[in-house]
Symmetry: C2
Subunit: 247 residues, 2 copies
DNA sequence: CGCGGCCTTGAGAAATGTCAACTTACGTGG
DNA sequence: CCACGTAAGTTGACATTTCTCAAGGCCGCG
């Protein structure tokens, strides 16, 4: 139910998404994408020594906005939604974290957002203090973390522009292309864009309502720009979609 | 007209906002707020050796979205607006930079936004390569930069929530309180909130139109929550304003 | 004094939100 | 294996906020 309890597999000192065999981060499938890529083979065991591998079931919350930020995470598998809640229940999803993404940048040691697993998620969890110690000892690791933060900031600024200045159709088109590109980095290009999150999540990410998302997707499908399939969307007319997103 | 030309005062190796006397960063009025605070007295001369002090007149653009990110900046005086332009002229202001703020976080060495001076701006400019060299040599400086980036990210996420999920009135109220708090850090608390930017800037920051901003401010003034004065707003009923912002 | 930039105000339009009904898919238990 | 219940998604009718367009006011500056 809470952060730690949600991380079912206890296995401390286990590997970062190891695929059997000796438990070391060097077997990790997402390492090239993750922050860990900054560490060389010889340094990996230091990370290995403090990592806790975990799984979070779909819909479980493992970061609670406002709580003490005692851990940081690296997503190995699945999709995570990061969001802020207003007192009256309105929600803004500030990002989706996917394999390779780093979670836990926090100010004043408090989480600024909550995080749920969208589908089944596997992640590497680190105690913040231990992680910090490692980061302090390795400037190139800190540099990579800083690159990740900078990247996040750039994405956030683009998201502001999307939400603040673009129409519903433009937002949806841009969202689909963004998801396609993100999956492409992780698992290769495809015209089928996996959408593990539900309509409500898309709505709350784009600053729209679920009905507007549904109607807009339906319209794009009617116009043969996309094909809606369960858990995904197939892009039929990439040029048109890109045009809608730029506009 | 362009980045470098706009930085009128040539004076290389001058101080970061020095107030007369020997030209060194240790006379800088905003140093405690700026990234430079991470450097100790003994290290300051290294920064001093690569800083170029500059001034940018109101409305001049000194960072152009998409161009090579050859410099980074620290704002000393005045207000800067950072924005993204869409091809059809729509604009989203992604932030206002004020004294102590750091500018120039960039991905792939391209600026992701443009930046203009809102009023007369004084800033410290650094060649990115030289700055990077200094950062690489001083992990505690990198750490401070990372803290700044993290802070920016937190702000950006709040801004997303503001734009994506709050009404015009809530946005305006939150904006006024944010500006008040930012000025408080720089120059002390006051019920008079300086607003150096024009209505159009506020609108483009909050994802609204200038008319909606104007109407909303007028309404708040009519309800005696604020008093509108030239270049500023006086907060009359802080409780009410905070309530509107939270809601 | 008159012009131009900025701001305000009003009237009507448009995009998106709200509310409600209905469909579809899926898992559970009879 | 079917019936039911529930969660997610879609669609329609209508409401509301915000935008758009247009006019007018204020004020500093030439």
């Amino acid at each position: 139910m809470t952060t730690l309890a949600a991380l079912a597999t206890p296995s401390p000192r286990s590997a970062c998404a190891r695929s059997g065999g000796p438990s070391y981060c060097d077997a990790c499938k997402v390492r090239p994408l993750a922050v860990c890529a900054a560490l060389e083979a010889g340094e990996l065991h230091e990370l290995d020594a403090i990592v806790h591998q975990g799984r979070v079931a779909a819909k479980e919350t493992f970061i609670h906005q406002g709580e003490d930020a005692t851990s940081v995470f690296s997503v190995v598998e699945g999709t995570v939604r990061l969001y802020k809640l207003l007192s009256d229940g309105r929600r803004q999803i500030v990002g989706f974290a996917m394999p390779g993404d780093f979670l836990g940048l926090a100010l004043h040691n408090r989480y600024g957002f909550s995080a749920d697993a969208v589908d089944a998620v596997a992640l590497c969890k680190f105690d913040r203090a231990e992680f910090d110690r490692l980061v302090s000892a390795k400037p190139h690791f800190l540099r990579r973390l800083h690159e990740f933060a900078t990247h996040e900031l750039v994405i956030a600024q683009e998201q502001m522009t999307l939400i603040g200045r673009r129409s519903a159709e433009e937002r949806i088109a841009a969202f689909l292309l963004m998801m396609r590109d993100r999956w492409a980095r992780i698992s290769g290009a495809s015209v089928t864009v996996q959408l593990p999150m539900q309509r409500l999540d898309i709505a709350d990410y784009l600053g729209l309502t679920i009905e507007t998302v549904s109607r807009t997707l339906t319209r794009l499908a009617r116009d043969r720009v996309i094909l809606i399939v369960p858990e995904a969307v197939r892009i039929l007319d990439e040029g048109r979609l890109a045009q809608l997103a730029r506009s």
